[in-house]
Amino acid sequence: MDKSLLELSDEELILEFQKNNTENAFNILVQRYKNPLTNFVFRFLGDYESCADVVQETMIKVYRYKDSYSSVAKFSTWVFTIAGNLARTEYRRQRRRNLFSINDYGEDHSTYDLPDESSRPDDVTDSGIKDEIIQKALLKVKETYREAVILRDIQGLSYEEISEILGVNEGTVKSRINRGRAQLQELLKGIYKE
């Protein structure tokens, strides 16, 4: 891989890919963002397989619609916006599917897509169990709050970036984060007592 390309920022790489159709620039961007995006989408969906599909789709959209990126915005916010939209769509699709399956078979035969322990990268240890509990609690938080909380407390993005990604003002972002945290605290009471 070209060393000079590795030194470029995300924005410079996407511009290079736009202007000269440099495939290597795109590949570097994929390498840089594949894990953050996978983490974000997995925490939002709670299903690794669909998470991998969503991240792949996000990267393909970046490849296909590279010309729609404007240098005014940060590349990270653009790519997280795409991933967030796709994740939301996938989450709603899954919820609809689960609703139908509950109606068809009853609650005893419900087919919720819980993370597959064997395929999940996090090990089944004490910390692993804790992670699983937190993940389950996170999935119970309202969709809009959950996204904001993940972007802020897991991905570590600034309020400004989150407001750009979600398309709402910073005040709304903060309130969403606080509400999400409050719901999580309520759900994770037992863990803190331990």
Binding site: N27, V30, Q31, K34, N35, L37, T38, N39, F42, R43, Y48, C51, A52, V55, Q56, M59, I60, Y63, R64, R120, P121, D122, S127, G128, K130, D131, I134, Q135, L138, V149, I150, D153, I154, G156, K174, N178, R181, A182, L184, Q185, L188, I191, Y192
Partner: protein
């Protein structure tokens, strides 16, 4: 802000302590494979029709041109303006009445036919008597001529003058009877037989719906005066001959 973060310190710590989920090992390869698939499918999509026809962007403009050409041939701008047949006013026919009340017309027609039947009888009788008079006068002439030796080919001037005077007398009587007929004019309708001969179709009087004019007394007088003037002129001419 800081208060909020302190309030939810445990939650934030728990979330930050979550292990990072990494992408699958063959992530890049999968993306590359999907990109190549898309490229291939795009190339496949450019098929026969796309190569033959012009680019899709030109289709709307070509469609517009086609419509314009069709309109040019369908709508001939040079043609004379056609009057709308629904807007043309019908030609006024003064010789024909528009009948609205048929009952009234029929009642009038019955009255007229009755009047005619009454009046027809007297002139026909007069005409017959006149004709018989004419016949008898002709006979007289012939007998007069025979007596005076006409049969022998000899004609005297006196005899001719006598004949003419007799004829004139008879003609005056005929004219007078005609005048009496014309005093009460009736619509002259061709007889059924005559009409049938002309048109090949019999038309009864009832079927006709023409305007029937009845002259006033003054008009009748003027007509008679004119007629007499004409007759007097004729007489003068005949006497001169």
């Amino acid at each position: 802000m800081e208060n909020d973060e302190k309030k939810y310190e445990d939650v934030i710590k728990a979330l930050k302590g979550l292990k990072e989920v990494k992408a699958p090992a063959n992530f890049e390869a999968d993306i590359q494979r999907r990109i190549n698939q898309e490229k291939f499918s795009k190339e496949e999509k450019k098929g026969f029709w796309q190569n033959i026809f012009v680019p899709a962007k030109l289709i709307p403009s070509l469609g517009l041109v086609a419509v314009a050409v069709v309109m040019f041939f369908v709508v001939d701008t040079n043609s004379e303006e056609m009057d709308n047949p629904f807007l043309i006013e019908p030609r006024v026919r003064e010789d024909v009445f528009a009948v609205t009340d048929f009952e009234e017309v029929e009642s009038k027609r019955d009255e007229l036919s009755k009047q005619k039947s009454v009046k027809k009888e007297s002139p026909s009788v007069d005409l017959r008597t006149n004709k018989s008079q004419l016949k008898s006068s002709e006979d007289k002439l012939i007998t007069g001529r025979e007596k005076s030796g006409e049969s022998k080919g000899l004609v005297d001037e006196k005899d001719i003058a006598n004949d003419q005077s007799i004829l004139l007398d008879n003609l005056t009587t005929v004219d007078s009877t005609l005048a009496s007929v014309t005093e009460n004019p009736q619509p002259t309708v061709p007889t059924e037989a005559g009409a049938e001969m002309i048109t090949g179709q019999a038309i009864t009087k009832e079927e006709l719906n023409f305007r029937q004019v009845q002259l006033t007394e003054e008009e009748q007088k003027t007509v008679n005066e004119l007629r007499n003037q004409v007759q007097s002129v004729e007489r003068v001419n005949k006497t001169q001959k």
